[in-house]
C-alpha cells in the first residue's frame, strides 16, 4: 500500500494533478461525512420530532418538553465540545456541534436547517453525470486508480466541474456584455490565445463600440506580428544554413502554426500550408531518415488535398 504522500505525489504528476487531488479530497470528504453524519442527523431529527409529537399529543407538558430538549442538547453539546478538545480534531464534530446549536435554538426545524446547511452542497453529485464509467469512481479501487479514472472522465467530457457552466462563454460576453466586460474578454483572448478563440476576435471586430473594435484589431495585429516575426526568423535561419534539415523543419512548423492559428482566411492559410509542405519536402530531402518530418509532410499534403476537393 502506498503512503498518502506517495499517492498525492503520483497524482500531481498527472496532467492537472492539483485540481484532481482537490476534487478527490472533496469526494472523500463527502462520502466520509455522509456515513456517520447522516446517522447522527437522522437520530437527532427523530428525537426532536418524537418529543415534539409527544408535546402536541399531550403525552408531556411544555415544561417536560423544555427539560428534555434543553437537557438533551446540553449533553450532546458537552460531549461534542469534549471531543473537539482531542488532539486530532475531526471536522465532523464541529459540524455536529453547529447542528446541535441550531437544534437547541429552533428544535427540529433548526436541526433540519442546520443539517442542510452543514452538509456539503450537492457539488459532487452534480459534478458526476452518472453513467457506467463514473459509478466506479466510488467503488473500492485504490485512490490512484480512482484519480486516473476521474482524469479520463474529465478528458472525455463525461463529467463536468460544478460552476464551470456559470462562466460565460467569451463570445457571449462580446455579443451581449458591457464595454468593460468586452474589453476584459478580449484581454483574456490575448493572454490565452488559441485558434478556437479567433471567432471571438472576429466577432469583436464587428462590435458597435469603437474601443472594442480597436482592441480586437490591436490584438489581431499583435498576433499576426508574432507569427510573422517567428516565420521571418526561421526564414533567416534557413537562409543562413540551407543545408540543415532542422532549419527547414522549424520554418515549416512556424508556417503550419500560422496556418492553423485561425487568424488567416482560407486562401492565405492554404498558401502558408503549401509553403510549409515545400519546406518539409526540403527537410526530408536533406534528412531522409527524419520520420517526424515525413509524417508532418504527409498530413500537410492530406490537408491540402482535402481543401482542394
Amino acid at each position: 500500500m502506498k503512503s498518502p504522500a506517495a499517492v498525492f505525489t503520483a497524482v500531481r504528476s498527472l496532467a492537472g494533478g492539483a485540481d484532481i487531488v482537490w476534487l478527490m479530497r472533496r469526494v472523500d470528504r463527502f462520502f466520509g461525512l455522509t456515513n456517520r453524519m447522516l446517522r447522527f442527523v437522522v437520530a437527532l431529527l427523530a428525537w426532536q420530532i418524537g418529543v415534539l409529537f409527544a408535546l402536541l399529543g399531550g403525552v408531556i407538558d411544555l415544561g417536560g418538553y423544555a427539560g428534555i430538549h434543553i437537557l438533551g442538547c446540553v449533553i450532546l453539546a458537552t460531549w461534542l465540545v469534549w471531543r473537539l478538545n482531542f488532539p486530532a480534531i475531526d471536522h465532523r464534530y464541529s459540524v455536529a456541534l453547529q447542528i446541535v446549536t441550531w437544534t437547541a435554538v429552533a428544535g427540529p426545524f433548526g436541526a433540519f436547517v442546520a443539517a442542510a446547511l452543514s452538509f456539503p452542497s450537492t457539488t459532487i453529485r452534480s459534478m458526476i453525470l452518472r453513467d457506467g464509467g463514473i459509478d466506479s469512481l466510488t467503488t473500492d479501487c485504490s485512490p490512484i486508480e480512482r484519480v486516473e479514472r476521474l482524469h479520463v472522465c474529465l478528458l472525455d467530457r463525461r463529467i463536468r466541474l460544478d460552476g464551470a457552466s456559470r462562466i460565460r462563454p467569451l463570445i457571449d460576453v462580446i455579443v451581449e456584455g458591457t464595454q468593460s466586460e468586452k474589453l476584459e474578454a478580449l484581454a483574456v483572448v490575448y493572454r490565452k490565445y488559441e485558434a478556437r478563440l479567433s471567432a471571438v476576435l472576429k466577432r469583436a471586430m464587428q462590435d458597435s463600440d469603437t474601443s472594442v473594435r480597436v482592441l480586437a484589431a490591436t490584438i489581431t495585429a499583435k498576433l499576426h506580428a508574432t507569427y510573422g516575426r517567428t516565420i521571418g526568423d526561421c526564414e533567416a535561419a534557413a537562409a543562413a544554413k540551407p543545408g540543415l534539415a532542422q532549419s527547414w523543419r522549424n520554418l515549416a512548423e512556424a508556417r503550419l502554426g500560422y496556418a492553423g492559428s485561425g487568424l488567416l482566411e482560407a486562401s492565405r492559410a492554404r498558401a502558408q500550408m503549401e509553403f510549409a509542405a515545400a519546406d518539409l519536402t526540403r527537410a526530408v530531402e536533406l534528412d531522409p531518415f527524419d520520420r517526424a518530418s515525413a509524417g508532418r509532410l504527409e498530413s500537410a499534403r492530406q490537408q491540402l488535398a482535402m481543401w482542394r476537393t
Binding site: R191, T210, V214, L215, A217, T218, T220, H224, A225, G228
Partner: protein
Amino acid sequence: MTAGVDVCLIVEGGYPYMVGGVASWADALMRASPQLTFHVIAIGISKQARRRNFVLPVNAVDVTDILLDVCPRGRTPTARDADRIKRVLRLLENALTSGDGSNFEDLIEQVRINGFGQAALLDSKAGWHAMEEAYERLLPNGPLLDFFWSWRFLVRSVLAVIGTPLPQARVFHALATGFSGLVGSYAKFAAKMPLVVTEHGIYTNERRIELAVADWLFDSGAGGFDVAAESPELRSIWLKAFQSFSRISYAAADAITTQYRANQALQRIDGAPDDKLCIVPNGIDVAKFASIARDATPRPPTVLMIGRIVPIKDVRTFIMAVALLKDIVPNVVAILIGPEDEDPEYAAGCRQLVHQLGTDPSIIFLGRVPDVLQYLNVADVLALSSISEAQPMAMLEAAATGLPVVSTDVGSCREIIEGFDDDPVEGRGGIVVEPCNPMAMAEALATILLDNALRSQMAEVMRRRVASYYSKDRVTRIYERLYADHGAAGCSCGSTMS
C-alpha cells in the same frame, strides 16, 4: 522660466521630441497664431531621447521638461513625520484611485507645506509601511514586488508633476488628460489659472487598450476564462490611476474639447461635465493643398500611405493588402511615407513581410520626406490601415488635394469619408473598411483604382467636405476665442463652440 506667455501647452510623450499626430497638431496650432506666445511643457521619462524633431516656432518662447521618473527629493523626514507621511500618502493613493479634484488639491497643499518628496514618501520606513497598506488595499495577495515598482513609479510621477515650477501663462492648455491633464490641474489648483483640455484620442480608452495587451505587466491569470472573476491585477491599478487622472482633469478644466462626437460620448462616460464639452475639429491649410495640380502624366496606378511605421498604423495589413491587390491590379505601386525610427523592430518586420510576400518591387518605403505634397499629386488613392486614430491630418491633407481615401473604420475617419449629420456636402469620398482585413482593403483599393469616374467623383466630395468643415482658419479662430474667453474671466466654453 518665461515671464507671462499667453498659453502654456502641455504635451505628453511627443512635442517637440517625437513626431506624431498630436505633436504636429501642437506645432501647427502655435504657428497658426503668431500673435500669441507659447510655453511648452513636455512630459516624458528620463530614458526617452530628447533630441528635438521639431524646430520651435518663433512664438514658442521656451520648453520645460517634466520627467515622470524623476521627482524632487524633498526634505529628510524625522521620526515625528511618520503620521504626516502616512496622511500625505493616503491623499496620494486617493489621487491615484478616486479621481477627486479636491483631494488632489489637498495633496498639492500638504506636499508644499511639509516639503515632502522622494526621501519622505518613498525612501523612508513610514513610506514603506504606507506602501504596504496600499498594497493590502489595492492588490491583496498580488505580487508585492510588481506592486512596489508600479507604486514607486506612480508616486514619483505625481510628485514630479506637483513639484514642477509652473511658467507664468494666461491659459494652460493640456493636449490630453493623463499626465498632461494632471499638470494642467496642478496649474489650475496651485496657480488658479484657467485650464483648457483637448483630447485627440480619449486617454483612458487608449490606455485601457494598451494595458489589455501589455506584456510588461505581470498578470496572474487567476481569473482564467471568467470575465466576471475580477481578480485583482496590477493593470487594474494602472488603469484606475489613468481614469483618476482623467477625472481630476475634467473636474479642473474650464473647457474640454475634442474633435468629433464619438469621443465626446466617451468623455461623458469618464465623468466630463456636459457644460464644459465642445467639438473643435482639426484644421488644415485648405487653400495650399487645394492649389496643387494633379500630375496627369501616364504612370502606374499608385496607392499612397502616410504615417509612422509603427504597430498602431498596422502597416502589415497595408502590405498584405497590396500583395492581394497585385492580383487584381498587377502594375500597382504602393508608396509608404513615414519615419521608421520610432519602432525599428516593427519597421524591419514590415520590410521582411514585403520580402516574404514577394512584393519588393511594388512597395516603396520612402521614410521621412521633406515635402509630402509632391507625392500627394502623383497618387491615385490614399490608404490608411490604422488600428486607432482620432482625426488624421494626413487624411485631411490628402483629401484637400482631391485624393479619394480607403481607410479603416477608426476615429472620425468614417465621418470624414462618408459625412456626418447636417453635413452640407453629400456623398462618399472613399471607402471605409474593417481594420486588420487586408482582403477588404485590397478590394476597396481596386474598386477605386479601376473606376476613373468613381475616383473623380470621390475626389470632388473629399475636396468640398474638407474645405467646408476642416479649414485651419476656422479652427484657429475657435481656439483663439477659447483662449481669450478663459484668459479673460474664466467664462465657460459652452454651446458657443459646438
